[in-house]
């Protein structure tokens, strides 16, 4: 289960706050949301403080988003290690 909350900051940035596990169908859900924001050229950040686990597809998505300039903020130690590996 992953709770996805989209927050629009006054500065025009979109922050996607995630809570739970970035796995299975929620990877596609997050991907669709991020694609939509990136297509509209909105600066985007992901708040990963409450992500407990990311599966292989989840890690691949995060790497891909990072490469496209999305800021990955507040990674937990575990998710940071997953991204580093």
């Amino acid at each position: 289960m992953l709770l996805i909350a989209l927050i629009e900051t006054p500065g025009g940035e979109s922050v996607v706050r995630l809570e739970g596990e970035l796995i299975g169908p929620w990877v596609d859900e997050l991907k669709a949301l991020c694609e939509q924001r990136l297509d509209s050229h909105t600066p985007l950040s992901l708040d990963l403080a409450d992500v407990r686990f990311a599966d292989r597809q989840g890690v691949t998505l995060l790497h891909g988003l990072q490469a496209r300039g999305v800021h990955l903020a507040r990674c937990s130690l575990f998710v940071a290690e997953q991204l580093r590996a």
């Binding site: 407990r52 575990f78 997953q82 590996a85």
Partner: protein, 530 residues
């Protein structure tokens, strides 16, 4: 007043019987009863009140009425005392009001008067010597009812009470079943939440190769034999296979073959009927039946006795068995996943494991690599367990000292992931600062261990073969077993039972562990505290 004739009464009672037999839902049942009653008893309103034991009230359960009322509506609650309905319920005797205007005593009766009711009969509903509630008929005409009506209604009420008793039992069973289904769904989710990730933590080639194999074998319905050292996560791999199979909506039932005593293993697998043996106080469903249309996971399958292997073989071949003490053959559709840390091929050679069972199980073999073969995954696993235990124990550990991480990476982990998990759990519990640090004592072999009991996890095949040649396979396996038990006892500080006990970390029953400790002549480092 016209009294019901004998033939009409019998016909009506028969009609009520038929309604009771054929109707299970309350609305259909009551509608059929009302239609039957109307043939011999005139009424403008009829209803059934049932007693709510928890609140000690009589609640209007069903109502059929041509009189409009703001008061007499389904769900109305009337006190079990101080009411006309309550009087009948308490005294278990009928109440006849020929002229309500003159005879009304209770507030609820005055409400009925307002609705136009002028006469009524109320009779108790008694089944199995228990009063369930009351049945009432009411009329707008004074002197509609006589004693004959009361007698007849009581006869009908006795049958209706039995039907209501059955219906309430049926509804209770349905509610319990629904609750069990909800609880089952919740527990399945809990299992997934707790166990579903650890097997996929890491990105080493050895793990990725294993996970690729899992993806391949999962959708097939073939038997899988998982082989791996103690603590490598064989159960998690079994769960991963089940979760990716077409049987995932059905249960994965685990049987730890080493934890079941020889005398009970047949009952555990196949169930028993009541009285099958001394102590079989109730009928019990076996694990194979529980796993029907799902998956059964036979952990430590190498520990089964030869007798039990024969019985297991039959189920695997024919997918049928008889519960202990029963002549009835039960057929099941079960996928089997077995796991062992023993070399079953060698056990076959030594005559300790049946060759035919081995070939039945070894259809799709999977090897789970020991942690020392995937040392690159250690940092991820450390962080995974650190996050889990920090949260569980309310600690805010924000990192791991680099020396500690290096030491964790160097250690050979004879107890594999389970040992790493235990080390991190202990470290989090004992941690004081925000950075996790471990001293060398966590890794150092115990000074009082016998030299042959020290784990030798990094041995090459040639070294192992050399040792087998010098000390014999049986002796070598005993030494390895001894080393694992001593290491587990060290970690648990001599505690055998309980969540942090050695039995839990070795995944064996505490009694099995005690028996092995005694047989192998192991002295525990400290007295058991559990």
């Amino acid at each position: 007043v016209s009294s019901p004739g004998s033939q009409e009464r019998h016909q009506t009672l028969l009609a009520i019987n038929n309604a009771i037999i054929s109707s299970l839902t309350r609305d259909r049942l009551f509608h059929a009863i009302a239609v039957a009653l109307r043939r011999v008893v005139p009424f403008e309103r009829t209803g059934i009140f049932l007693h709510d034991r928890d609140r000690d009230v009589l609640r209007l359960f069903v109502l059929q009425s041509s009189l409009s009322s703001a008061y007499f509506v389904v769900g109305l609650e009337i006190p079990a005392t101080e009411s006309h309905v309550g009087w009948v319920f308490q005294h278990r005797r009928p109440l006849l009001r020929r002229n309500l205007e003159k005879e009304a005593q209770y507030p609820a009766e005055r409400q009925a008067l307002k609705d136009g009711v002028r006469a009524f009969v109320i009779v108790p509903l008694v089944a199995h010597d228990c009063c369930l509630g009351t049945l009432a008929v009411a009329s707008t005409v004074v002197d509609t009812y006589a004693e004959e009506h009361v007698t007849f209604l009581q006869e009908a009420a006795n049958q209706i009470a039995l039907a209501i008793d059955n219906m309430l039992a049926y509804e209770e069973i349905a509610a319990l079943k629904a609750r069990l289904e909800r609880e089952n769904a919740y527990l399945q989710e809990e299992i997934h939440r707790t166990h579903n990730f650890a097997e996929t933590v890491g990105s080493s080639p050895a793990l990725l190769a294993l996970l690729a194999s899992v993806e391949k074998v999962a959708p097939t319905d073939s038997t899988v034999l998982i082989h791996g050292e103690t603590g490598t996560g064989k159960e998690l791999i079994a769960r991963a296979i089940h979760d990716r199979s077409l049987r995932r909506s059905r249960p994965l039932v685990k049987v730890n073959c080493s934890a079941i005593s020889a005398g009970l293993v047949e009952s555990e697998f196949f169930g028993h009927v009541k009285g099958a043996f001394t102590g079989a106080l109730e009928r019990r469903i076996g694990r194979f039946q529980l796993a029907d249309r799902g998956t059964i996971f036979l952990d430590e399958v190498g520990e089964l006795s030869l007798d039990t292997q024969v019985k297991l073989l039959r189920v695997l071949q024919e997918r049928e068995f008889e519960p202990v003490g029963s002549n009835e053959t039960v057929r099941v559709d079960v996928r089997v996943i077995a796991a062992t840390n023993r070399d079953l091929a060698a056990a076959v050679q030594a005559g300790r494991f049946r060759a035919d069972l081995f070939y039945r199980l070894n259809v799709l073999p999977l090897r789970v690599p020991p942690l020392r073969e995937r040392a690159g995954d250690i940092p991820q696993l450390v962080m995974f367990f650190l996050a889990r235990f920090s949260k569980a124990f309310g600690k805010s550990v924000e990192g791991v000292a680099s020396e500690t991480m290096q030491a964790l990476g160097r250690y050979p982990w004879p107890g594999n992931i389970r040992e790493l998990q235990n080390v991190i759990e202990r470290a989090v519990v004992l941690s004081r600062g925000s950075v996790l640090e471990l001293d060398d004592s966590v890794f150092a072999p115990s000074s009082h261990l016998p030299s042959e009991a020290t784990p030798r996890p990094r041995e090459t095949t040639a070294e192992v073969e050399g040792r087998v040649g010098s000390e014999g396979l049986g002796e070598m396996l005993e030494n390895i077993e001894r080393a694992h038990i001593i290491a587990a006892l060290e970690r648990s500080r001599g505690v055998i039972e309980g969540p942090h006990g050695a039995a839990q970390s070795l995944k064996v029953h505490p009694n099995t562990l005690r028996s092995r400790i005694e047989k192998l002549g192991i002295r525990r480092p400290a007295p058991e505290k559990s």
